[in-house]
Point group: D2
Chain length 350, copies 4
């Protein structure tokens, strides 16, 4: 068994990690770390879970590395930066925060001014989209997982810019997400009465997930992307997000070429489903059709009138956008089949 | 008292019209028209209303014009086309459907192939955004109200293209709306279990409301708009919509100029509120902050990275996007103060 | 104009009071009071409202009474107790909290141990259900409004125990309410992710609203009620509550007698609607059919198998359960027609 | 592998069965049956599922029994009655409908007047609550699963009347459930706009699930239950139900005795969790804490004021209330460990 630690065990991503680790045939939940929740038992934190009830949350110290094979950091970026410094080279570190996602220093400092990170580690972190960097993950000691929106955007763009070799001159992202993306931080705007009927433009002109995608794609293929901007909106679901990408490319593409390219690009990748919009009784991609699963559904359209492409990508932000992708990366890292412990189908309707 | 008829009384827009007409000090609900619901009393149709309970739904015939001053058509476009033919020149007609919104014939036929309309009436219909064509409404015998999304888009763009004199070379609209926009038509995708957790791309590459805005703006100021495309998404609210406009203009604009232009353009227009994004405890515009009212909230942003503008417009699709705007137009038409019967403040939270 | 002050202006009931006072033809919002929100403008607090934007929140001092005719206390019970002591006999006080609802001292101390109140004022407060104590309100200097659930329970029981003269030997209340009942207090269980899918038994065996109803009904008619117990549940709406009353009476009643008694009891009371369960296209009473209005819908059923009655009462907790009832009581107090400023019809669907 | 057929494959329970059967290590989905959906592929029907995409829905004929080991009937009761007649003694039949739940003929005819069933089969059906009739399931050829509410009520009452030997003189059930309980039947009241804000008393005085519980408990222990009545309410969740049981027993019970009795009764039953109300950060039982899982959470309270007990039971109506319990019964029937294929933990928050 691979012994796993979950730091940030009291949060939503932490709870989801515990759920997935506990259901995993090869991972063993061996440590829960936290700060304010130290001393609490799992059952007190996560009302649904009735697994490993004896495990309690503890302080994170360097010596936990001796008893663990992998540590998942489901912590705010500044905490992740400190934990990574503590644990690097002693245990495999998989960070779900934004601390190490943006490699370019200036870009990082612009979007994460509050995060001081050990600069010597930055280049060693693999930006872990398993579908795109699977081989690098096999050897990685440090893995930085993309943000929830960034995962959707990257998986939406990859067939165009990495598969078809197009250049995305301009990408406008309009991202719509549920309330679990904001975690359990206490604030008036997060209370049910003020969130339940909201279509709320919480980041109308700029979001840091755009920066990490740009950074990653340009690193992967220089010139792949011109400008990539983003607006983010909260809508009244709990889980799930839909990223709408309006993409202007350097050459025109027709519908059939587009659909074939997406199908081909994700052949052999079980968690990304290239779907036809009307193939089922609700239009897809729709995050309700991936809820609770590690799937990311993508579709691409040609907008004839505007001369651009519309790419949609939907995923469950707590699974493929966080804990599920973390386990998927761990599977790659430890040489397990990619789907191990992640075969759950969507819970729909919910 | 101005005697008003509501045709399509069993639908959601019809119910909202009845609510507003009944609360209006100068309008009197004098006729309810329908087809399948003929013979039903108001209370059977609209569970909330306890007004004029004796009124029952009747068939629409030409002679209703004799007893009415104004008829609101809250009917599907083909029905509106037939009713308009029947009633034109006998009574003021205010149509909430899409039958007469697009004047250009080719464009109309592309987006409304199912609607045959009396061509001689088309040019006589005023496209009734009260804030923009107030004077024309005073004389109008036939008024065609913009669609709910079209209202938001038009009010969002007008300060740029009509106020500041900019040309919008390219506009991408990403529109997010609640389930009441789909009315009470029975279909699996409209049932609560399949709609409650949905972020559903029901019109990812093209929507007819974009066509009517283009048609209107080009007619109002030739060259005002280059391409205007639209994607529409259903989110799990009931009322309310938010239109996000990504606008590329022919010259750069800075933030202060932009904010001042919006404030100035809507000065004296009580129903459009130019708002600062962070002026209150939730980010605005957010349709929850206009629910049940006739307000449309707008904000505009400069996206420095993309070199474009982001314009947001939020409204209650059943009020400012339908019944409220209809009453507002009627107020203009009959020489009443614009706010008559429409002074209700938003019901928030709901 | 009657000059009104609203204390607790930053909360949900406070916001609703401002909305209703501002729409009222005879009330003038002349003072906003608060503590943590002192100095804030109305628009900062209540995103929907665009009325009296200049009004800012101030500290409450005794001399505000000089400039006001009525003060609404939308404050926590301990604050209401202090404000009442400060303002009594200087201005009409209408308290929306629980500070003065229970007259019997022992019962008060059991359910409100945290509330020390000026005992000399207790007996002078009128427990203000306008439908039942209308005459007393005309002279009242101090009015204590029933809780939201208590309003529904009292209006549901009154036709039985005050109208038909039955004794309710045993009443079991199962109350279901939306999240706005919990106000804007910050706590994890109130966040959207943990409240959005909840059917949550927050008070399974006892709730203080039951105590105030018992206290009031026994005072009004000794022996009217035997035991009255209550369980309360949170469900994922924002506004609205439904109280289900399972009532065992001292004699059997049949369906027609029951329906007639409810109709008769509320004849002439415009805000309570005795309704037949299937009279419209959704089953009623349902709080969605009263949203935003001052209506309380009631229905009563005979359960033949159990030999008991089922009484249902639905209302909007922020209107008829709080701010609307407060204005209704003020109307009574100042000799205005009861419906003044409260004629808004339900906003449905929302 | 055990070859399983799912009849009623296009419905919500059918879809959930397919999900669970496909995830089950020993069950193989070998046949999909339906009527209106004949010819459709799984992916067209259930947008989330990407399993066995080649399987299409077919007509049900007697000879399907030759190729199957077990048939799940997720069909309306009249269809189940016909299918059972067709397939009995040829294959194990597990019926999720109400066709065979009530054994007493008069009671059946009262609550299911539309269901004509083969009377010779009635007594052979085992009413399959696995926790209570586990041994009978091992030999059963015909299994009738309790309704979703009936499961919760039975599991809530069993520790009292079967474990502690109390007599429940009177039980009042107030049941609150999400919209998926109503399936995908098209009707106005089921549309999102009319269901999203509803607390709707759809069965205020009587529900057939009460009848099956009474029938079963009296059969299991004569005199266990006096009167058992039920009111049912729809609330705006999709999955999940909470049954509140107000129970009057023949002798008083104190809190500690009660809690111990529930813990003891369900020791060794992995799917029923006897929980303390405040053991976690939201009050439980709450159906959100069992979503997507086969758990039923129960708690019991003493209401000192009323002299009765309050018992709460929460479950996911599509899992423990339908498809999950069906698989659990199949596990019992085929000698598999009870948890096989049902180890998924709750997906929370969702």
């Amino acid at each position: 068994m691979i012994r796993a630690g979950v730091i940030g065990a009291s949060g939503l991503a932490g709870g989801e990690l515990i759920r997935l680790v506990a259901q995993h045939p090869a991972l063993e939940p061996a440590f829960l770390g936290g700060a304010a929740s130290v001393g609490m038992r799992m059952g007190e934190l996560h009302p649904g879970l009735r697994i490993h009830p004896g495990l309690t949350v503890r302080h994170v110290t360097a010596d936990i590395a001796d008893r663990l094979d992998v540590v998942f950091l489901a912590t705010p970026a500044p905490v992740s930066a400190r934990c990574a410094a503590l644990l690097a080279d002693r245990v495999v570190v998989i960070d779900l925060s934004g601390a190490f996602r943006i490699r370019a220093r200036r870009l990082h400092d612009r979007w994460y001014p509050e995060v001081e990170r050990p600069e010597d580690l930055v280049d060693r972190f693999v930006y872990g989209v398993p579908e795109l960097v699977g081989d690098q993950l096999r050897e990685a000691a440090l893995i930085s997982l993309p943000g929830c929106y960034a995962t959707a955007i990257t998986l939406g763009l990859a067939p165009l810019v990495l598969g078809m070799g197009l250049r995305a001159d301009r990408v406008l992202v309009d991202a719509k997400g549920g309330s679990s993306g904001g975690g359990l931080r206490l604030r008036a705007a997060g209370l049910h009465p003020l969130r339940s009927g909201a279509i709320t433009p919480y980041a109308p002109n700029g979001h840091r997930h755009a920066a990490e995608v740009t950074d990653f794609l340009r690193r992967t293929r220089p010139g792949a992307v011109g400008s990539l901007t983003m607006s983010a909106y909260g809508v009244p679901t709990v889980r799930g997000l839909l990223a709408s990408l309006y993409v202007f490319t350097d050459r025109a593409v027709d519908r059939r070429e587009l659909e074939r390219a997406y199908l081909r690009f994700y052949r052999g990748h079980p968690f990304v489903r290239a779907r036809r919009h009307t193939e089922t009784r609700i239009p897809v991609p729709d995050p309700q059709a991936v809820l609770g699963s590690n799937f990311c559904d993508v579709s691409a359209f040609v907008d004839e009138d505007g001369g651009h492409l519309v790419v949609l990508a939907a995923l469950d932000n707590l699974v493929k956008g966080a804990a599920g992708q973390a386990v998927q990366a761990a599977n790659r890292r430890f040489g397990l089949p990619e789907e191990t412990g992640l075969t759950m189908q969507p819970v729909m309707p919910a």
